[in-house]
Structures are given as C-alpha cells and as structure tokens.
C-alpha cells in the first residue's frame, strides 16, 4: 500500500513492550493485594514492656492505625494509675491525628515531643499488676516520604519505627 507508515519491526517491539507492561501491572496489583492493609505490611517494634504495631508502608491521606501496647504494670492500688506515653513531635507533624482510643486525659507539649497521659483503671485488685494496656492512635498521613517514628515511656523504654508513605 502506498504511503502507509507501517513499521513491522517497531510494531513487534511495541507488542513485546506491552507484554512487559502487563507483567509490571500484575506485579503492582499483587503487591497491593499483599501490602497495604495486608498481613505483610503490619509489623511491630518493641522495647521492654512497650510494643508498637504499625504499617511499614501506607499511602498519602489514607488512614493508618498506630497501636501501642504497654505490658504489665504494678499499681499502687490506691486509685486509678496514669500511663504516660510520649511521641516524637516531628513524626506526629506528618500526620493528622484522628481519634485516640482511649481519649487521653491530657497532652503535654514538649520541645520535641508530645506526651499523652491516659488513666489506667486498676479494677483488678490492690497491689496487683494489671495486664497489658493498649492505646490506639488513628492517624491520617499528611506528608509523603519516610516518617521516622519515635515513641516511648517517659524515663523508660523507647521504640523507633519507620514508615514509608506513598504519595
């Protein structure tokens, strides 16, 4: 046919490139199925009695839960105890803090960290250690890139956890 810009070698290369593209697409979908909210992404960091459960990868403006578990603590038995937990300020600045479960009793602002205090009940009995208590922060990522998390108990253990937020 006159004046048709057919180019068979190019066409074959294009079809090959398309097949490679399909494989990449399949890989992306597979990664998303297993990652995101999946079982491979959620991981824990721990130091002593402090455990934090977090997602290694998450996405911009997507909700991501941060779960702290503090192991058995002896109580004085004379009334509700207070759990104080500090979180690095730069880390929290990259998120919007939605709900905190339970609602913190108070938040103290420090130069590089925010310290949350929670009331811990000791309904178990006088002078007995309470079981591990769990505090959940519902965060929404507001900045993408690596979020370096630091948190800990004042004067005690501290944990580090890094997250990668996709744009």
């Amino acid at each position: 046919m006159q004046q048709l810009e057919q180019d068979l070698p190019f066409q074959r290369r294009e079809w090959r490139a398309q097949r490679v593209g399909w494989l990449l697409m399949a890989a992306v979908v597979a990664a998303a199925l297993f990652g995101g909210a999946g079982p491979l992404t959620t991981t824990t960091a721990e130091a002593g009695s402090l455990h934090v459960e977090y997602r290694r990868f998450d996405r911009f403006k997507a909700p991501t839960p941060l779960r702290f578990r503090v192991g058995g603590r002896a109580t004085s038995g004379t009334g509700p105890d207070t759990l104080r937990l500090w979180i690095d300020r730069d880390y929290l600045g990259r998120f919007q803090v939605g709900g905190v479960l339970p609602t913190p009793d108070g938040v103290e602002v420090g130069p590089d960290r925010l310290t949350y205090s929670f009331v811990v009940s000791n309904a178990v009995g006088p002078a007995e250690a309470t079981g591990p208590v769990e505090v959940t922060f519902h965060l929404t990522a507001e900045a993408f890139g690596v979020a370096r998390g630091r948190a800990g108990l004042p004067g005690g253990e501290a944990v580090a956890f890094d997250q990668l937020i996709y744009p």
Partner: protein, 152 residues
C-alpha cells in the same frame, strides 16, 4: 505547585497505562468499555483534586492538563520518534481478502472485528471484497474496498 505536579503525574501515568493496554482498549465501543472509561474518570478525580475543592485549583489543573497536551503535540511534531512511541504505527491486517493471522493475534483482533468495520464503513459483506484493512493508530479499523473487476 502540588496541583501542577499531580496533573503531570496523572497525565503521564494515563498515557503510559493506555499505551500498555493496547489500541483497542480505547476504540472498543461495547457498553462495558464505556462504563469502564467512566469509572476511570472517577478514580482520577480524587487524585487530581486532593482535598482542595477551590475553583482556582480546578483552573490550575485544567490549564496544566491542556498545556501538557499542547506541549506534547508540539514535541511530537519535532521528534518523529516520540510520535511513534506515544501513538504507535498503523498496521495492515488484511490484504486482498487474505488476513495476516499473526498480526491479528498480536493486535488481539479477530476477523469478526474486521468484518464489522467493513460492514459499517463500506457496506461490504465478505472478506474477499476487502483490498486492505488497516488498524489505525487510534485503534479504529479502516477499510479500502477491492475495486470491482479485480486489480487495484
């Protein structure tokens, strides 16, 4: 600045994804493909706007997208290799009534698609009435009918 980067990212991504999907993805006119395109439009919206629903943001995004389109077409005019990479090349599927099976397979088209185009465009009934059937760059099939009495 955010808005411009989003627009560039999404425009480029859609360009690449539709190139990978193949020409027929955009040319198919079944009801389902139409629905699919509508859904894709919806998924793009949030990524483009983010949380900013201001009119200014919309204007910025539209300007960037149209600008990219114009820029790309100017660039394609100057660099023929870019034009080939982004648009592809036409492909003869049927010559003098004989289909090229390997090309039909590669393009994921069957004879029925060619015959449908022949009926729709030229009112032809059979494959042997087709001199050339060409898969154009936009995914549509064009038909050159055989001259009556043979030859051509």
């Amino acid at each position: 600045m955010d808005a411009v980067l989003r627009a560039v990212a999404i425009y480029t991504f859609l360009l690449v994804v539709f190139r990978i999907a193949g020409k027929r993805t955009l040319a198919d006119v079944t009801t389902f493909d139409f629905v699919l395109l509508l859904i894709i439009a919806e998924t793009t919206q949030q990524g483009l706007l983010g949380n900013d629903f201001s009119v200014t943001n919309s204007f910025l995004l539209i300007t960037t997208l149209i600008g990219l389109d114009v820029g790309l077409s100017l660039l394609k005019g100057r660099l023929p290799r870019l034009a080939k990479a982004t648009e592809g090349v036409p492909l003869v599927l049927v010559e003098d009534g004989e289909p090229f099976e390997d090309r039909l397979r590669g393009a994921r088209i069957d004879e029925g698609d060619v015959l449908e185009a022949a009926r729709r465009l030229q009112g032809l009934e059979r494959l042997d009435q087709i001199k050339y059937a060409v898969l154009e760059r936009d995914g549509g099939i064009s038909i050159v009918p055989a001259r009556p009495g043979g030859g051509g």
